[in-house]
């Protein structure tokens, strides 16, 4: 029985996921300490040079930097298991409370971006694949190339400056949450989601085009067409239905990245998301903030991958059988 549980696919996946998260935790811990400076120098800047040894020691004790590195790591890890993600002395708030504010912003932005990307990328990919090497294919590919080539900061800043000139800049009003001011929140999310979706729709479009072209060349499509299956049904159900696995993989991958926070877009559009939380944590050398937040992001990425795997089973009966 125990052997069956151990050998079960889900158990193995969970073990791999936990191993990945532990690896991420160790890596982030080491990398943060490898960066020159600490929370004392981050807070005092050049004035840190004027601190006496006693002042420095007092500050190191205050920030918990006086303990050996191994103790610091296991103390943080132990606290994680008891639900304590750490404390931000800058924000005077627990990391859990900070994340409770920032994570919904990032998740909302990620969901909106993925929906927009799918709405743009999949139809565009199918349009391109409907007549390869034609004008419409060239147009689709050009849009895809533009999406990949134009950096988000350029598109974001340009859009913001252009719309601000006409008086529209909801992001300048300060962030409004979805629950308290849903209408303003949607306005604030629109531009960043469009900017991100423009870049993410491109790989989705390319994946869709390739997958659709591949499926269309298969025998069963020719057979279905010969049997008189209507074009619309053939395209949506038979072609797109069988091309969904690579599209889902690409979408899952992009969604995972988005959960890590689109730092540049969050900066430009003043969205207090999880990317900004990590960035400020790194700038201020708030180790607990960065370590715990990165672990949350990594957990999100792992969960999205697991969910993508589960989706394969829904989309493709062959996966269920195997």
């Amino acid at each position: 029985m125990i052997r069956r549980i151990i050998r079960h696919r889900l158990t193995r996946r969970l073990a791999t996921a936990l191993g990945t998260l532990l690896g991420v935790a160790i890596l982030v811990f080491i990398m943060l300490r490898a960066i020159p400076g600490d929370q004392v120098t981050a807070q005092f800047g050049l004035e840190a040079a004027g601190l006496t040894e006693a002042q420095r020691a007092q500050l190191e004790a205050y920030y918990g930097l006086d303990r050996p590195l191994v103790v610091q790591f296991f103390s943080w890890l132990g606290n994680l298991f008891s639900g304590n993600l750490g404390f931000s002395s800058r924000a005077q708030m627990s990391v859990a409370a900070l994340t409770a504010q920032s994570l919904p912003v990032t998740v909302e932005l990620a969901v909106l971006t993925i929906v927009l990307s799918l709405l743009i990328g999949v139809p565009l990919g199918m349009l391109s694949a409907s007549k390869p090497n034609s004008l419409r294919d060239g147009l689709g590919q050009t849009v895809g190339l533009a999406g990949l080539s134009i950096p988000a900061f350029l598109l974001g800043s340009s859009l913001l400056a252009w719309l601000a000139g006409s008086g529209f800049n909801p992001n300048g009003l300060g962030y409004a949450s979805l629950t308290q001011q849903p209408w303003l929140n949607l306005q604030q999310m629109l531009l960043p989601a469009v900017v991100l979706a423009f870049g993410i729709a491109a790989p989705i479009m390319r994946t869709t085009r390739t997958a659709v072209l591949e499926v269309r060349s298969l025998d069963f499509i020719r057979t279905a067409r010969a049997k008189g299956v209507p074009v619309r049904r053939l395209q949506w159900r038979h072609v797109l239905g069988n091309a969904l696995v690579p599209i889902t993989t690409m979408t899952g991958l992009q969604f995972g990245y988005l959960l890590g926070g689109a730092i540049v877009v969050e900066q430009i559009f003043s969205l207090p998301g999880i990317g900004r939380q990590v960035l400020i944590g790194i700038q201020q050398k708030e180790y607990a903030v960065v370590q715990s937040t990165v672990l949350i992001i990594a957990t999100g990425f792992v969960l999205v991958n697991l969910a993508t795997d589960a989706l394969y089973r829904l989309i493709d009966p062959r996966v269920r059988v195997s």
Binding site: P36, G37, T41, A42, Q43, F44, G45, L46, E47, A48, A49, G50, L51, T52, A54, Q55, Q58, L59, Y62, S88, S89, R90, A91, Q92, M93, Q101, L116, L119, I120, P123, M126, S130, R136, S157, L160, A161, L163, A164, G165, G167, F168, N169, N171, G172, L173, G174, Q181, Q187, V194, V231, R232, Q235, Q267, I268, S270, P272, Q277, I280, Q283, Q284
Partner: protein, 513 residues
């Protein structure tokens, strides 16, 4: 035909998306625009970062200092011209021997929680700042104070080891804020309780801080009902937010951003700053131990060219002292203008034909650093001095700087109104930043001691001119230029006075139509 029908259907979601976008963008100005509240005067100030602390004794970050200045009060203050004027102390008197300073406190001064601010609080605050365990950044400014007494509720007497003419100026810095003896750092980190013009009402980390008028403030009633500091990390986005009327006031350091604000029709005022751009030389390292090498470097640099190239000419070439009352003459130096022949002569005197000097440069600490470094490198190369640039992330730069682990450093250092507060930490051999300064001499020690004890302003000015000349003649550092800060406002904002020390204390006299 079928294909075309199918494709047009495919376009439906895209069209829907565009319609939704248009609908959202056409909805006009959302309802929480501050200008929609005519009954309340709320000024929205744009800022790029969140304060890293609300505790005034540890505030060094630009924005943290600005917030603290509006929440807390000090015994003395600076006016718009950087003169020391009464703050919580309405007057002070120095004894004839200069060793006792008696402060008379302002009657009726209260903390935001309504409790009185008296001599017990002043004594408690100054003693706590002196205590190493507090880790207050201004501790060294009280180095001459040996005893603090509070003979009655409205009098504080400071006994000094030596006369200290810079003390009233040092006490005006917000790191010397007077706190209630009842409060602790822990409580003040979340609930500031000061004697300033405003009081903190709410804070959303990474988003905003909201201040309301302090009804217990001892000074003139601030016209504003409140201030919202709105955090927008990108400066260009702040300009956009001001264009659309969402933000009323902000301050930039980058001349390019200021130009874009001006082009967008916003009002921009530039204020010369006390902070100075400098090539710090560490005279204890490598070839820089030789004064001739340092002088050769000084003569090989055209400071105006550095200013023009790195900062679009937005600033003024400077000598060591930048405060208006003691300003150094930038022409009083061995090479007032670039002189490659003289540089070659100095280099020959050092016995070297070519020199390599390492320079640390911060990337991201301020806008012009790398451009300054590149220009200095190009100019020095013409004098056979190879400036090896080491461009570092700001955290790595700070660590190297405070460890004095550099031969030279391209730096932007903060200035202070009083020259003793500005350089008294650097160049006397006992200064707490002397290791970073990389230079000291008996002459400088003596001059700084004289400057500290001299109370006559005219005599002090002469002493600091001598100090300035001494620093230039020995090419201790290479002072380059001072830049401007740019205060950007929208229509209707009046009464705000930007200050050369970058203080935002005049938010207390600002109003908005």
């Amino acid at each position: 035909m079928r294909n075309r029908t199918h494709l047009s259907r495919l376009a439906l979601p895209v069209a829907g998306l565009l319609s939704a976008a248009l609908a959202l963008t056409s909805c006009g100005t959302p309802s929480n625009d501050p200008t929609d509240k005519p009954t309340e005067q709320i000024l929205v100030v744009g800022t790029t970062s969140d304060p890293d602390t609300l505790f005034p004794w540890k505030a060094t970050q630009f924005f943290a200092v600005n917030v603290a200045q509006n929440l807390y009060g000090t015994l003395t203050e600076f006016d718009a011209d950087l003169n020391v004027v009464p703050g919580l102390a309405e007057s002070w008197e120095t004894s004839a021997d200069g060793l006792t300073v008696t402060f008379k406190l302002r009657p009726g001064a209260k903390f935001a929680d309504g409790t009185d601010c008296d001599s017990t609080d002043v004594k408690h605050s100054l003693e706590a700042i002196q205590n190493e365990a507090t880790a207050a950044v201004a501790r060294s400014s009280l180095a001459t104070v040996t005893k603090i007494e509070a003979p009655d509720a409205s009098t504080v007497v400071l006994t000094l080891s030596v006369p200290d003419a810079g003390l009233p100026s040092n006490l005006a810095v917000i790191n010397m804020a007077i706190l209630s003896s009842e409060d602790t750092e822990e409580t003040l980190n979340t609930k500031p309780n000061g004697t300033g013009a405003f009081v903190l009402t709410s804070r959303q980390p990474n988003q905003s801080l909201t201040l309301a008028r302090n009804e217990h403030y001892w000074g003139a009633k601030p016209p504003l009902d409140g201030i919202e500091f709105r955090i927008i990390p990108d400066e260009t986005s702040i300009v956009s937010a001001m264009q659309s009327g969402n933000i009323n006031l902000t301050t930039f350091d980058d001349p390019l951003v200021a130009q874009s604000a001006e082009a967008a029709g916003l009002t921009v005022r530039k204020t010369p700053q006390l902070s100075y751009h400098v090539l710090q030389l560490n005279a204890t390292r490598g070839a820089l131990v030789d004064e001739n090498v340092r002088l050769a470097m000084q003569c090989a640099i055209d400071r105006q060219e550095v200013l023009d190239t790195a900062a679009q000419g937005e600033g003024e070439v400077t000598g060591p002292i930048t405060s208006p009352a003691y300003r150094s003459d930038p022409k009083a130096r061995p090479c007032p203008t670039r002189d490659l022949a003289k540089a070659a002569q100095y280099l020959a005197q050092s016995g070297l034909s070519e020199v390599t000097v390492n320079a640390i440069v911060s990337q991201g600490e301020y806008a012009t650093s790398v451009n300054e470094a590149e220009n200095l490198k190009a100019q020095l190369a013409e004098a056979h001095i190879n400036l090896e640039l080491e461009v570092l992330e700001s955290g790595a730069y700070v660590q190297r700087w405070i460890d004095a682990d550099f031969e030279s450093a391209v730096a932007l250092n903060g200035g202070r109104p009083d020259p003793d507060g500005m350089y008294g930490r650097y160049f006397p051999s006992t200064g707490n930043l002397n290791k970073v300064a990389g230079y000291s001499s008996p002459t400088l020690d003596q001059l700084f001691a004289q400057g500290k004890s001299e109370s006559d302003p005219a005599e002090r000015a002469k002493i600091y001119t001598q100090i300035s000349n001494e620093l230039e003649d020995h090419a201790v550092w290479i002072w380059l230029f001072t830049s401007y800060s740019y205060t950007v406002t929208t229509a209707g904002v009046t009464g705000y006075t930007p200050m050369p020390n970058a203080s935002a204390q005049y938010l207390r006299s600002t109003s908005i139509a």
